[in-house]
Symmetry: C2
Subunit: 398 residues, 2 copies
C-alpha cells in the first residue's frame, strides 16, 4: 500500500535533532534538552486532593464538557489575569490542550498557504513546525537583548504584509531574553497602526527571578480585549504540571469564537477531568506560594549552571544570565557545529538542543540551548562536567 500524504506533512519531517534525542530515552543520558519542570516540586498531594474533590461532585464530572472549557476554571483564570491588568471575561477565553494547541488553533484559523508571519530569530521551534505544516512562511525581524528592532519590524510589516507577528516577550524560548517596556509599547503601537495581529506566547512569565521587576504583557498594553489586536496564551504546564495539559488563550471574541469552532472539529474539547482538577486546585491550594517556591529553586539551579558554565572556562563560549524562564542560550566558537557536538555528547552521556531548529532563517549552527530546571544539583554537576569535556574535545581537535 502506497500512502500519499498531504502537502501539510512536508513541514512535519522528523528533525535530525529529534532522532538524536530519541537515543537518550531510557538510557542514562543526562538531558539538558527538554523544557521539563523539576518533578520534585510537582504538587502531588494537592493534585490528589483536587482529583478527589472532582470525584466528590459525582458522575456529572465525567460527562462531556463545553468546547470552550470548564466555565468555573475560566472564571478563576479571568481573576488571575485581571491581577496582571488583563481584563477579560470567560467569553474571551478558550481552554486548550496546553498552549501548543493555542498555537495550532490560531494558525489554523488565520493562515493560508504562503502567508507570512513575522518572528523573532531564534524563536520557539514548535511554532516554526506549525508554520511549516500550514505552509506559511516565517520572516525574521532583527532584534537585540531588549526585543525586536522596531524600525525593522515596521519595514517588514510594510514589505511583507504579514497576517501575524509571533513573539515570546518574557523569557523567550530559546534565548531567555526579556523585552523592555519601550519595545513592548512599540510593537503594540506599530501593529495597531498597520492592522497586524500579535500572538503573545507567555509560557514562562511566572518563572521570573526578580520578583520586584514587572513586565507588562502586550495584551495588557493593547487595552480592552474587545477589538484587541493581541492574542495571548499561557499554560499550567510550568507552574502546576505538564501532565494535566491545560493552557488558555484570550483575545477578541471573534478570534476566540473561530478558534472554538476549530477546536470542536479538532477534538470536541480537552480533558474536563484535568480542567476540573485545576479548578479545585486553585480553590484549595496556594498556587502563588507554590510559584514562589519553584521560582526560588529554578533561580538557584540557574545560578548553579551559570557558575558551572563559568568555572569550566571554555574558550569562546558565550552566554548571559537569564532573568527568568528555563533556559541558557549558549554560543560556541563560530567554527563549531552544535549538531556534531550533540552527536558526540550523547555518546558521552549528556544531551542538549542545538540551536539550528530555532532559527527561521540563516541558522547559527554554533548555538545551543541548555535547560536548568529539570536536573538536580548532583546530576547537573556531573552533566556539565561531561559537557565541558565534550566542548574541550572539539576545541582541541580543531
Amino acid at each position: 500500500m502506497d500512502f500519499v500524504f498531504s502537502q501539510a506533512t512536508r513541514g512535519l519531517t522528523s528533525s535530525a535533532v529529534r532522532e538524536i534525542l530519541k537515543l537518550t530515552q531510557g538510557n542514562s543520558v543526562i538531558s539538558f534538552a527538554g523544557g521539563l519542570p523539576a518533578e520534585q516540586f510537582f504538587p502531588v498531594q494537592a493534585m490528589r486532593d483536587a482529583l478527589n474533590r472532582v470525584m466528590d461532585q459525582g458522575p456529572r464530572a465525567l460527562q462531556y464538557g463545553l468546547t470552550e472549557g470548564f466555565t468555573p476554571l475560566r472564571e478563576q483564570l479571568c481573576a488571575r489575569m485581571a491581577r496582571k491588568n488583563m481584563h477579560v471575561t470567560p467569553d474571551h477565553m478558550l481552554l486548550t490542550t496546553g498552549s501548543q494547541q493555542s498555537i495550532d488553533l490560531l494558525t489554523r484559523v488565520l493562515l493560508d498557504k504562503d502567508d507570512v508571519v513575522l518572528v523573532e530569530d531564534p524563536t520557539y521551534l514548535a511554532f516554526l513546525q506549525v508554520l511549516g505544516s500550514a505552509q506559511a512562511h516565517p520572516v525574521k525581524v532583527d532584534g537585540d537583548e531588549h526585543g525586536m528592532n522596531l524600525a525593522d519590524l515596521e519595514a517588514k510589516i510594510i514589505k511583507h504584509k504579514p497576517k501575524l507577528v509571533y513573539v515570546i516577550p518574557t523569557f523567550s524560548n530559546p534565548t531567555g531574553r526579556v523585552w523592555n517596556l519601550e519595545r513592548r509599547q512599540g510593537i503594540v503601537d506599530l501593529c495597531r497602526k498597520h492592522g497586524v495581529l500579535i500572538f503573545e506566547d507567555d509560557p514562562y512569565g511566572e518563572i521570573k527571578f526578580d520578583s520586584g521587576e514587572s513586565f507588562p504583557s502586550l495584551f495588557s498594553l493593547a487595552g480592552s480585549p474587545d477589538d484587541s489586536h493581541v492574542v495571548y496564551t499561557s499554560t499550567f504546564s510550568k507552574t502546576v504540571a505538564p501532565a494535566v495539559r491545560t493552557g488558555w488563550v484570550i483575545g477578541d471574541k471573534r478570534i476566540i469564537g473561530m478558534m472554538t469552532r476549530a477546536k470542536q472539529a479538532a477534538d470536541l474539547h480537552s480533558s474536563t477531568l484535568d480542567q476540573q482538577a485545576l479548578y479545585q486546585l486553585l480553590c484549595h491550594f496556594d498556587l502563588d506560594a507554590h510559584i514562589t517556591t519553584i521560582r526560588d529553586e529554578y533561580k538557584r539551579r540557574m545560578k548553579l549552571m551559570y557558575s558551572l558554565l563559568s568555572e569550566h572556562n571554555i574558550p569562546g563560549l558565550t552566554f548571559s544570565e537569564p532573568k527568568g524562564g528555563m533556559f541558557f542560550w549558549v554560543e560556541l566558537p563560530e567554527f563549531l557545529d552544535a549538531e556534531a557536538v550533540l552527536k558526540h555528547a550523547v555518546t558521552e552521556g549528556v544531551a542538549f538542543v542545538p540551536g539550528t531548529p530555532f532559527f527561521a532563517q540563516e541558522p547559527k549552527r554554533n548555538t545551543l540551548r541548555l535547560n536548568y530546571t529539570f536536573a538536580d544539583d548532583d546530576t547537573m554537576v556531573r552533566g556539565m562536567n561531561t559537557l565541558a569535556n565534550v566542548f574541550k574535545h572539539f576545541l582541541q581537535t580543531k
Copy 2:
C-alpha cells in the same frame, strides 16, 4: 481591527442547528440531541481509585509524556484489540483526545484541498465538518441497511480516485445500521484492489444489544497492520466516560508515525493523567462486566423509546430498531422539515438533532436523530410525549 480568517474556516461556520441547540443549555429542555452516555452508570468509584493509584506513582506521573501516549495503556489496548482479531503492537497505535482527534489528524496528514473522500450518506456530521475545514469534498456512496452498495463503491472509486473512504460499519451514527459480512469483506477487497485507504470509525462497537452476534472489524478483515489499507479508531468515551477524552487509532506504522508528528505540532500529547488513570482502571476494574451492564441498560432504554415511538402512532413516521449504538434514525412524512420542527420543539421543551447536517449531498430534510442513552425513564416518557404532540401539531397544521 479587521480579522481575515483562513480559507479553512469557511468549513467551520456555525450551523443553524447548533444555534438552536444552544437554547437548550441551562434550561429545562429534555434533550435527545447529544450522543451522551447515561451518567448514572459512570464508574465514579473506580475512576477515583484509579486516579489515587496514579497519584501513588509519585511526581513522575505529572511530567510530560510521549506524543504517542502512555505506553502501558497502549499495551493494554493492544491486548483488548487482539481479542477482536486486531493484532497490533504499541507502535501501530496513537492515543488521541477522543476519536474526534483521530479523525482530525488523519485528515490533516492525508487530505489536500479538493481531494475526494467517499462516505456513507448520511454519516457522522463532525466528520463532514472536518472535511469542510480541510477543503476536501465528500462524495456519497449509495447503500442500504446492510452497508454500502459495492458496485456503486467501485464505480465511484474509479470515477473520483478518492484518497479515503470513511465508514462507521457498526451501529453507524446517525442511522444505527450494521454492515453485514459480505459488505465488510467487499469494501476491504475493493479498496485493496484499487489502493484506497479505509478509515473505520468504531465508537459504538461495544454497545451491541445481541451479545451473540459478532461483527468483524474491517481492520481485522484486512489482515496484518503492516501495509494495511485500513485505519481504525475507537474511544473510551462511550464505555468509560467522555471527560477523560481518550481515544486511540491503529494502522500501518507509516500512517501512525505521520499522525504522531502532526499531533506533536497540534498539542504535544493528550492528558497523560487521563491515560494513566485509564490504565489503572483497566488493571483493577472489570470493564467488560461494566460494558455488559451499560449494554443491558441501553438496550432497555432503546426498547422503551421504541415502544413510545410506536405507541404514539404518528402517521408517516418511520424508524427501525437499532442493534446497538446510541440512536434512533427517524423519518417524518416528506413534507415536514425537521429543522422547523426542532425550532418549535425547543419552545415546547424537547430537543433532537435534525438529519440535514449528517448528509454529504442532497439532505433529506424530513429526517432526525434521537438519542436514547442519556434520559432516564421518566424523562424519556415526558420528552417523547411532548415530541409526539409537536409532531402531531405539524401534521395537523399541514
